[in-house]
Every structure is written in structure tokens, then in C-alpha cells.
């Protein structure tokens, strides 16, 4: 599904290397988690894959189903099936949540040569998918993320994911700012989307999210590289001992 090969990335503004040769291969239907200390490059990896500006790729590639992502505009990557659930979802005053979601869904359908959803059909699907995430019509009427609580913002991200039905989902610290109940709700939303044709890359600081969204592989990232890969037990190890042991071991 996703093949990242020797990816090197610098900040455009300050000539500072953030990613220093990331290699990662994610098969269809699998769930990978990336953990790592602050500043290790986890969020940068998420942003670079989704096409945010301000980064310069100096080497390497990232292919989604064999097609180079790094050559595409952000909207093309989305239409190709990539989705990033933001760590900090952006507030957009003046744009209704419903309008936003419908514009996005139909833009992607159009880009893929599919017919656009009618207002009625769209509404039906949103209602159904929103229900599971406890997102009612009141939240859909409000401007995108404006005045949403931390939990509402993250649930809104998952609703977008559910509506857009991407192939490759990246979750950037989706657990941050969530209480226990909200985390459960969000995780259930994610788990409902698990499918043989859909892969996940879950970036997190804490093992607790991985109790709910069970990964097939766990990677430890430090200083711009993936330094260790293992099964779910690796996350437990981090939870108990911190990163110090792993960092020493690899060094």
C-alpha cells in the first residue's frame, strides 16, 4: 500500500534536516504504529506524506500503490486515497461543517471520475456515519471545528475519514486531548473502518491508544529514522521503560 524509501526531509526555511532516511513498508489491511520521543520527526513524516508546504524532500520516495506521492498536490494525494487525521484540526470560520464535508467528498469523487453525491444522498450517509461518532446535525451546522471541544474536533476528523473512505489513513496523535470516553469513541470509529483494503499509520506517544486500535507492527522513531520495529509488545516496553533503553541499545 505505502512504500517509503530512504526519505530525507529538510525544513525549507532553516536548512535543518528532520527526516534522515525513513524506510517503511505498509501492506494493505495492516495497522502500523509509530512511537518516539518529541522532535523525532513523526509529525513531519505525516505532513510530508500529505503534502504540506514548508518542507523540502532532498532524497527518497514515498509511493502509494506504486504511484509517487511526493510529486502530487495535496488534493491529488487525497483523491488517490491518502488521509491525514490532524493532530490539531484547523478551525475555518465562515465555512459550515456540512458544506466543507460535501465539497470534499464531491471533489474527490469528481477527481476520480465518479458521479457527485446529491444533497439528499449525502445527508443520509452523513447522518448514519455521524451517529456512531455522536455527531449530530447541530455539529454539522457549525463552522468547521470552530468552538469544538478537543474531543469534538477529533471525532470530526474520524467522520471525515469515514466519509472519504481513504485507502491509507494516517492518524497524527489522534489521542492527544482526549479523555477516556472520547478515546474509546474515536477508536471504535477507526476500528469500524478497518478493512482488508485499508491501511493505517497511527502516530502516538502513548500505548493506551494502541489498546483500542491494535497494531500489527510498532516502529520506534528517533532523530529522523525508524530505529526499531516490532510487534505490539514493543509499545508495552516503551510504556514501561521509556525510550532510553531502546535508544542506548540501538546506539
Amino acid at each position: 500500500m505505502l512504500e517509503i524509501n530512504n526519505l530525507h526531509v529538510e525544513l525549507e526555511e532553516e536548512d535543518k534536516a528532520i527526516l534522515k532516511g525513513v524506510n517503511l513498508s505498509i501492506k494493505a489491511g495492516s495497522v502500523h504504529a509509530i512511537m518516539g520521543p518529541n522532535g523525532s520527526g513523526k509529525s513531519t513524516l505525516a505532513y510530508v506524506l500529505s503534502g504540506k508546504g514548508g518542507y523540502e524532500v532532498t532524497e527518497g520516495s514515498a509511493k502509494l500503490e506504486g504511484v509517487e506521492l511526493l510529486d502530487m498536490e495535496p488534493e491529488e494525494r487525497a483523491a488517490a486515497g491518502l488521509f491525514l487525521a490532524f493532530q490539531y484540526p484547523v478551525e475555518i470560520p465562515g465555512v459550515g461543517n456540512m458544506t466543507f464535508l460535501r465539497t470534499a467528498v464531491n471533489a474527490q469523487r469528481k477527481a476520480r471520475g465518479e458521479e457527485e453525491l446529491s444533497a439528499g444522498d449525502f445527508l443520509k450517509v452523513v447522518r448514519e456515519k455521524g451517529k456512531a461518532l455522536q455527531i449530530g446535525s447541530e455539529m454539522m451546522k457549525r463552522p468547521v471545528n470552530v468552538g469544538f471541544s478537543g474531543g469534538e474536533k477529533k471525532r470530526n476528523e474520524i467522520l471525515q475519514m469515514a466519509m472519504l473512505e481513504p485507502k491509507m489513513c494516517i492518524l497524527d496523535e489522534t489521542d492527544s486531548g482526549l479523555d477516556v470516553d472520547a478515546m474509546k469513541l474515536v477508536s471504535e470509529g477507526v476500528n469500524a473502518l478497518r478493512d482488508a483494503g485499508r491501511s493505517f499509520l497511527v502516530i502516538t506517544h502513548y500505548q493506551r491508544l494502541l489498546d483500542h486500535i491494535k497494531p500489527d507492527f510498532v516502529h520506534i522513531m528517533a532523530n529522523g529514522r525508524i530505529i526499531k520495529t516490532g510487534g505490539p509488545e514493543l509499545a508495552l516496553e516503551v510504556e514501561q521503560n521509556g525510550y532510553a533503553d531502546i535508544l542506548t541499545e540501538v546506539a
Partner: protein, 427 residues
């Protein structure tokens, strides 16, 4: 003195080709206006009130040519609305395409053929005269003196549909002066729609006298001709518990100066003046607003938004004057510009002058670029850059658009904005 002499000379030249109507009920009112005008002279670019907008193209002897803009693939704004249509072509009333000037609850006549003993003698030039202090508005006095036509409407009841003034522009060199008088009697309600470029150069005055408990709504879209120029004045006088709401959309036009001059004379009245301006390239747009609170517990709001690109210039001069008797005044003013590139400019002069001690007034002015974070968020969801920009631009304009109470009319104006954005590269 040399400057004053120059102004007088410019005035003589400007009015040399105009006819001062010396007959009928407006004759003395026009003569008075000419006297006022002669004392003021035409505005010059050294005048403080014209600091950000060069008036020379508005005061020149002849109008610079402007070709009509034809968007055959777009419906004209308000075309789907039930309304009474009054059409002017290059300032000349066109009876063939206008509806009959009749509606229950309204008296409608034309300035050019209104009979003597007309009710409008208490309005024509009267609000304009009051609006000349403390700031002079010579182009409005010029209008009162030399207007060739206009519509006079007295509302005594609830108008069942809007009156729609449609200004078509066909001649490249038309130079038009129209003057409208509106009187909304106690308890009556009226909506006026205005649309179209009107002329190569258009000078318009609308005086609106709203009696106690009267309601007045005004929605205007100024035409899309790239080279048209316009100087408009909207005068409002508000009685007790009356309301006055005006919204203007300006898309294109080389030069636009829209002045709104509102005075509260009765307590507990409401006046909202709002505008959205979108300009690409050779576009100079000036909103100049002066609200005088002369009564208690009145609420005024000014909401102006401008989207500018490719060297377009936006100006906002807004003033709230609260007189010493106007306790419990609630005044609000916001002017904001979205600059889509580094070449565009927004110049703002917000002013508050308050003599009462128990009032609430707030004002703000900002200019900034499009929110890159929001743009990326939209694109990451698959919305193409152009479309994402349009969404954000419309969102920016939404606060001004929200000032249109009627949802159907608001939607019509919003479609007009979208069409403009579609033609201008997404934003």
C-alpha cells in the same frame, strides 16, 4: 486661496455642460444645492476626506469611456425574485421594460415628471443638506442640483415585493446623475434593490427618510463593468424604533466611492450598513460611512469586507459620532481586507467621536493574507486549491453577507460572488 480658486474653476468647467432645471417643485431646491456646491467647490485630492481616493475622475468634465461587461452565461442578480422593476438605460428611464409604477401601500413617481405639491419636497436635498455637516460632500450637492431623473417612493404600508432599480449600461461614454427620494412612513416597510453599472460614470444619491417604526431594507450590487466609475451617496434619517439596513456588493469597477450618511433622530432605532467588495487589478473601492447618534439607545453597525488582488485598492473611512444626548448608544464597526497578493492595498481610517458617557462602541480593522493552514486543511481533504481559496474568500465575506435579512436575496447575492470568483482564478 489658490487652491480654492482652482476648485471653483474646476466646478465651473464641470457644470458648464449641465442644465439646471428652473421649473417645477425642485427648482428652488436645485438652486439652493448649486449655491451650496459653489461655496464648497468640487473635491480635490488634497482634501482630508479624499486623502485615500483621488476624486479627479469623478469630477472631470467628461466621463472616461467604459465598455459594458457582458456575461451572457450568467443570470442577472435578482432576476428570479418577484419584484417591481424600474429600468434605467444609461440613466434614461425605459418604460417599455419597466413594470407599471404601481403597488399597494406605495406612491411611486419619477423625479422627471413628478407633479407640483409633491411630498418629496420635504426630502429632496434636505437629507443631503444635513449630511453636509460636519463633512462636506460636494458630489452629493452636485447631484441634487443637476440630477436628470430618479425615483420617488413613499411607503405608507407594507410593500408586498421589493422595488428593483435596474441600471443598464449600453453607451461607452454615458455620464449619469440620478437622485432618488424614499419616505417610509410610520409602521411601513419597504425593500429597495439596486443593480447594474448604470453608466460609464454614475453619480447617484438616495435620500431615505424613515419615520417612527418604519423599516427600510436596501440591497445593492454594483455592476461588473471593469472601467465604470461611480460616486454614490446614501442618506438615512431614522425616527424612533425604526430600522435601516443596507448591503452593497461591489465586484469590479475602476473607481467606486460609496458614502453612507446616517443620522438617528429618534430613540431605539437600528441602522446597519454593510458592504462586500471584490476587486482584481485596476480597482479602487472606497467605503465612506458617517453615523451620527443623536438619540438614545440606538444601535448602529458597519461591517465592510474587501477581497483584493493584483494591485486592487480598498479604502474604508468610517465614523461613529455620538452626541452628548445619545446615551446607551451601541455602535459597532469592523473593516477587514483579505489581500490575495503583495500588490494590493487596504487603507482604513476608523473614527469614533463620543460625547455621551454611557455608551458602548467598538471598532476594529484588519488586513491579512489567506489562512495557509485552512487552505492546506481543505486541500488535504481533496478540495482543489482554486475551490479551496473560493471557499475561504466566501467565508471571509460571510459576515457582511449575513447583514442581508432575506435569505433568498442573500443567496442571490452569494451566487453573484461565486460567479465573480469563478471568473477570477478562484479568488
Amino acid at each position: 486661496m489658490a487652491q480654492l480658486q482652482a476648485k471653483q474653476d474646476a466646478l465651473s468647467a464641470r457644470i458648464s455642460g449641465l442644465d439646471l432645471c428652473r421649473e417645477g417643485w425642485t427648482a428652488s431646491l436645485r438652486a439652493d444645492a448649486l449655491t451650496r456646491l459653489s461655496a464648497m467647490g468640487l473635491p480635490g485630492k488634497r482634501d482630508e476626506y479624499w486623502r485615500y481616493t483621488d476624486p479627479s475622475s469623478l469630477t472631470a468634465v467628461e466621463a472616461a469611456p467604459a465598455a459594458p461587461f457582458i456575461a451572457a452565461d450568467e443570470k442577472m442578480v435578482f432576476s428570479g425574485i418577484d419584484r417591481l422593476r424600474i429600468v434605467f438605460v444609461d440613466g434614461v428611464f425605459d418604460a417599455d421594460v419597466s413594470d407599471d409604477l404601481e403597488m399597494a401601500g406605495l406612491e411611486i413617481s419619477r423625479l422627471a415628471d413628478a407633479a407640483d405639491q409633491h411630498w418629496a419636497r420635504d426630502v429632496y436635498g434636505v437629507l443631503e443638506t444635513q449630511g453636509q455637516t460636519p463633512v462636506q460632500r460636494p458630489l452629493a450637492a452636485l447631484n441634487t442640483a443637476f440630477a436628470t431623473d430618479g425615483i420617488l417612493i413613499r411607503a405608507t404600508g407594507q410593500a408586498k415585493m421589493p422595488i428593483s432599480l435596474i441600471y443598464l449600461h449600453k453607451s461607452d461614454t454615458s455620464d449619469v446623475i440620478l437622485h432618488h427620494c424614499i419616505k417610509v412612513e410610520s409602521g411601513a416597510e419597504l425593500t429597495i434593490l439596486e443593480n447594474g453599472p448604470a453608466a460609464a460614470r454614475f453619480n447617484s444619491v438616495m435620500e431615505v427618510d424613515v419615520a417612527d417604526d418604519g423599516r427600510f431594507h436596501h440591497i445593492r450590487t454594483q455592476g461588473r463593468d471593469h472601467d465604470r466609475r461611480a460616486a454614490t451617496h446614501l442618506f438615512g434619517r431614522l425616527g424612533q424604533e425604526s430600522s435601516f439596513k443596507s448591503f452593497t456588493l461591489t465586484a469590479n469597477g475602476r473607481m467606486t466611492r460609496n458614502e453612507a450618511v446616517i443620522e438617528f433622530t429618534g430613540d431605539d432605532a437600528i441602522a446597519h450598513v454593510a458592504g462586500a467588495a471584490i476587486g482584481d487589478g485596476a480597482f479602487h473601492h472606497d467605503d465612506t460611512v458617517f453615523v451620527t447618534h443623536g438619540a438614545e439607545r440606538c444601535e448602529s453597525s458597519q461591517v465592510f469586507k474587501k477581497v483584493l488582488k493584483n494591485g486592487a485598492v480598498g479604502v474604508f473611512q468610517g465614523k461613529i459620532l455620538v452626541k452628548s444626548n445619545a446615551q446607551k448608544t451601541d455602535g459597532y464597526q469592523i473593516s477587514q481586507a483579505l489581500l490575495l497578493d503583495g500588490d494590493s492595498q487596504f487603507l482604513a481610517k476608523p473614527e469614533l467621536e463620543i460625547y455621551a458617557d454611557d455608551v458602548q462602541c467598538s471598532h476594529g480593522s484588519t488586513s491579512g493574507a489567506i489562512d495557509e493552514g485552512a487552505l492546506f486543511y481543505l486541500r488535504s481533504r481533496g478540495v482543489p486549491e482554486r475551490e479551496a481559496q473560493s471557499l475561504l474568500v466566501l467565508a471571509f465575506l460571510a459576515e457582511a453577507l449575513a447583514e442581508i435579512e432575506d435569505e433568498v436575496l442573500a443567496e442571490d447575492v452569494r451566487i453573484g460572488m461565486e460567479n465573480w470568483l469563478a471568473r477570477h482564478g478562484g479568488a
